[in-house]
Amino acid sequence: MAIEYLGLSEVNGPLVVLEDVKGAFFDEMVEFRMDDGTRKLGRIVEIYEDKAVIQVFEGTESMSLINTHTKLTGHPMEINLSSDILGRTFNGIGQPIDGLGPIISDTKVNVNGLPLNPVTREYPRNYIRTGISAIDGLTTLIRGQKLPIFSGNGLPHDQLAAQIVQQASLGDDTDEQFAIVFAAMGVKYDVAEFFRRTFEESGVSDHVVMYLNLANDPVVERLITPKVALTAAEYLAFERGMHILVILTDITSFAEAMREVSSSKGEIPSRKGYPGYLYSELATLYERAGIVKGGKGSVTQIPILTMPNDDITHPIPDLTGYITEGQIVLDRQLHGQAIYPPINVLPSLSRLMKDGIGEGYTRVDHQDVANQLFSCYAKVGDARALASVIGEDELSPLDKKYLLFGNAFEHEFVGQGPLENRTIIDTLEKGWELLGMLPKEELDRIDTKILDKYYKPTEVKAEV
């Protein structure tokens, strides 16, 4: 029989302090019951002898120093898991909100997870076809990878994520089980609704688990949402052998929530007021992607992150980029030119790409074509800068060719329809077609043999 404590000694923002507790442990979950019958959950974040600092998930509204009954649960944050979670919707701390009743299961799992042993990991090598040229061709997504979308407010990152989900999950390997775990942290209702509708329309709803913490839901809850979602993903992947695609949106809200709680705990801030452990916290999320040796399933993560003020050096995208295996960067200028998806390929990168493409995976020329496109497109930037100074007419014939190539690349290779699903061969052929606009001796990143086999000059069209 658990003891109930009456009253609190301090309420401060999302934190409350309870004194004279016995036998409480660090990270333990506690339950609160107010006099009016409302219940809340909390987690012990600091403990000094008999004084516990508790973070309240649902916010401290209506809590007073005398009306609160507190009960220690004796375990850390756990959720019930079974394959019944597929097709269900939960709130940010894993409680069902779709009215279909609780999940009944013997499997209770600690949401904090444990680090995967590098020895038992399998190095990811299987590429996922997304049908999007800029991703498949230049920043290939690999099963078991964590590849975030760096975006900004007002850019179509949701649409892009939805397209990836639709086209990737319904790929060629129909015999393998797939599922999507969707975690919303502090996103607008419309965004959550957009994803729900998309999943429904593409007929994958039965394979989706949704964890929703919307913009008006309690801030502290957000800190636990991605952990709950990833725990579910790990369970489905490693215990049930499914291939899981996890969409986490929006990491920025998660980090802001962390800053809020950290400042009310009175911790010493580091960059821009974020706590010093922001890196470690983000890492414990992102590192939960991967493949385990001998297992069938995999966890692939696509976190979405809106860069504050489009600034890629802001601590959140910066630290994320150091942990994730690459990034897909969306660009406002491309978006302004109505190019969809507005992926700026130069800062975009997939670290695992090199081992998952080429002969035996995609096609032998894939890496060379990608390198060459990157290198040529980088030169387009120089040519454009020059053109803006001396005027386009004054450019050398070669620089003019680069300008044409750049426009064609943005509109035809990067740009595609929101429902257009290109095969990898289409993408590579498109790449060669564009490279054909440039003279052969400019293509210095391609092995001579491959160049001779695939290169053919393209008729350069007039002004695009």
């Binding site: 850390p76 020895v119 038992t120 590192e287 991967g290 020059l386």
Partner: protein, 588 residues
């Protein structure tokens, strides 16, 4: 009886014990019922502060903390190579055997296999006078490396008993030493050493030999000496890890200690898989046979991240004492600095720049100063070279970790975002990078490669610097208006960048290039420059020179000339001559 204390407060990885526990600073302790490993980091009359190397979730006040009496140490002996450890030297494969795919807490595993029997060949006999560092036995540890067991530092005396050659475990006594005061000490294959204390040596030598990496931009332009220090700073995606992997694979060090400090789990898996398959170019054995990995991935406990750097360093020093050249790859020192910051924040210390503790600079200098080419206690020569990756926030080199690191390293390989965006790899920028070892190493290059080497290298760098100033003009008015000699400089600089600096890590020939080929490549490029310059001086326009594909052919040398066919360079020189004659003939 070991001293104990009682937990009073818990704040993440930091715990507080009440009262004066009698613990020592830096002492290793076991925390709580689960025996989590921790280290004492602060003592006052009323509280003892302990950092815990494992996740503290579930700990309660009132649980017991037991002191071990020893500082946090590593176990030194055969079995370190071809192995992967966590930040406090627990073998990850043993942990996997006990706890499956996840790393659970309070794992009690032996650092080195206590049951494995090693072939031991004794090199001392009864009556020998020995002192710290004397080699007492040789053990074939892997196919590539002979492990040399040594008398622990500070022990001196006469051997009164030795074991026969044969098979022994790391805990069997091999020799017995009688000190001059009559006391006797049994020496085993395995010995402990505290990680925060540098192992003693006789003296330090100045840098004299380069650490050959097979990477052109490093070996030729910005070389690092054996026993030297280098920093590789760069924003994400610029190729820090790739650079470190390349050096770990191809450098001519005898032993590689690869420390994955706060980085990605998949990267460690990749090193493990790749190095278990790739051949060491020097011995033909597997790369893992000369490598040991320390993995504290970014999701593993932060306190152990701080320790992992020292663990790796101590293992490296141990092999240096045997007379080997060891190279440490620390990826990334910024994560280590951030671990310091995180712990410092938990301790509520007064922060200095950007939240980092004020002692960041002194910790960094203490770390890098443990590198060096040394004369060991036993008279052998060995070296520890440190190559530390730095991950500056926002790719901005003015942040504290990069700036402080710059003060203590002598080689700086600055990675550049715009080069990486253009997929120019290695993305080491030739204008921001430097090496202070060049003068120290000049005699070696003169004797071992060619007397002309340093001169050629300087010419190459001069061309690149001229290009950079010319590009300022080109950006404003375009390249068409430049005079022909400047156009030529740009063209040659392009040849240098594409044909020499750019190196393809995935190409079998180009991934590692011997010094001799690096030199010949430079020579041909400069020869082409000389000949073309002569043509330009005679009034030939650049457009005519460009009609020939000689520039492209020289760029392709890196792929077209195999590393073991230096004689082919003569053909290229002839081709340059033909190009010269042809242009003259046509336009005379």
């Amino acid at each position: 009886m070991n001293k104990t204390g009682i937990i009073y407060g818990i704040n993440g990885p930091v715990i507080y014990l009440k009262g004066n526990t009698g613990f020592k600073m830096s002492e290793m302790v076991y925390v709580g019922e689960e025996h989590l490993v921790g280290e004492v980091i602060g003592l006052t009359k009323d509280t003892t502060t302990v950092q815990v190397y494992e996740e503290t979730s579930g700990l309660r006040p009132g649980e017991k903390v037991t002191a071990t009496g020893d500082a946090v140490s590593v176990l030194l002996g055969p079995g370190i190579l071809n192995n992967i450890f966590d930040g406090i030297q627990r073998p990850l494969s043993e942990i996997a055997k006990e706890s499956g795919k996840y790393i659970s807490r309070g794992m009690q595993v032996d650092s080195l296999d206590p049951d494995k029997k090693w072939d031991v060949h004794l090199t001392v006999s009864v009556g020998d006078e020995v002192s710290g560092g004397t080699i007492i036995a040789e053990i074939p540890e892997t196919k590539s490396i002979v492990h040399k067991s040594m008398i622990p530092p500070y022990l001196r005396g006469r051997i009164i008993k030795t074991a026969e050659d044969g098979q022994y475990t790391i805990n069997d006594p091999i020799v017995t030493v009688q000190r001059h005061d009559g006391s006797e000490v049994e020496v085993r294959l395995a010995q402990k050493w505290p990680i925060r204390i540098a192992r003693p040596t006789d003296k330090r030598y100045p840098a004299s030999k380069p650490l050959i990496t097979g990477q052109r931009i490093l070996d030729t332009l910005f070389p690092i000496a054996k026993g030297g220090t280098a920093a590789v700073p760069g924003g994400f995606g610029t190729g820090k890890t790739m650079t470190q992997h390349q050096i770990a694979k191809w450098s001519d060090a005898d032993i590689i200690v690869y420390i994955g400090c706060g980085e990605r789990g998949n990267e460690m898996t990749q090193v493990l898989e790749e190095f278990g398959e790739l051949q060491d170019p020097k011995t033909g054995n597997l790369l893992m046979d000369r490598t040991t990995l320390i993995a504290n991935t970014s999701n593993m406990p932060v306190a152990a991240r701080e320790a992992s750097i020292y663990t790796g360093l101590t293992l490296a020093e141990y092999y240096r004492d045997m007379g080997y050249d060891v190279a440490i790859m620390a990826d990334s020192t910024s994560r280590w600095a951030e671990a310091l910051r995180e712990l410092s924040g938990r301790l509520e210390e007064m922060p200095a720049e950007e939240g980092f503790p004020a002692y960041l600079a002194s910790r960094l200098s203490a770390f890098y100063e443990r590198a060096g080419m040394m004369q060991n206690l036993n008279g052998t020569e060995g070296s520890v070279s440190i190559i530390g990756a730095v991950s500056p926030q926002g790719g901005d080199f003015s942040e504290p970790v990069t700036q402080n690191t710059k003060r203590f390293v002598r080689c700086f390989w600055g990675l550049d975002k715009s080069l990486a965006y253009a997929r120019h790899f290695p993305a080491i920028h030739w204008l921001t990078s430097y090496s202070e070892y060049l003068n120290d190493l000049a005699p070696w290059y003169k004797d071992e490669v060619s007397p002309k080497f340093v001169d050629y290298r300087n010419q190459l760098l001069a061309i690149l610097n001229q290009e950079s100033s010319l590009m300022e003009i080109v950006k404003l008015i375009g390249s068409d208006v430049l005079p022909d000699d400047q156009k030529l400089t740009l063209e040659i600089a392009r040849v240098v960048r594409l044909g020499f600096l750019q190196q393809n890590a995935f190409h079998p020939e180009d991934t590692c290039v011997p010094m001799s080929k690096q030199f010949l490549m430079m020579e041909v490029i400069l020869y082409l420059y000389k000949k073309s310059k002569a043509l330009i001086a005679m009034g030939m326009p650049m457009s005519i020179l460009k009609e020939d594909n000689i520039f492209e052919r020289i760029i392709a040398i890196k792929y077209d000339v195999p590393n073991d066919k230096p004689e082919m360079f003569e053909d290229y020189k002839k081709a340059v001559d033909e190009f010269y004659d042809k242009v003259l003939e046509k336009n005379a």
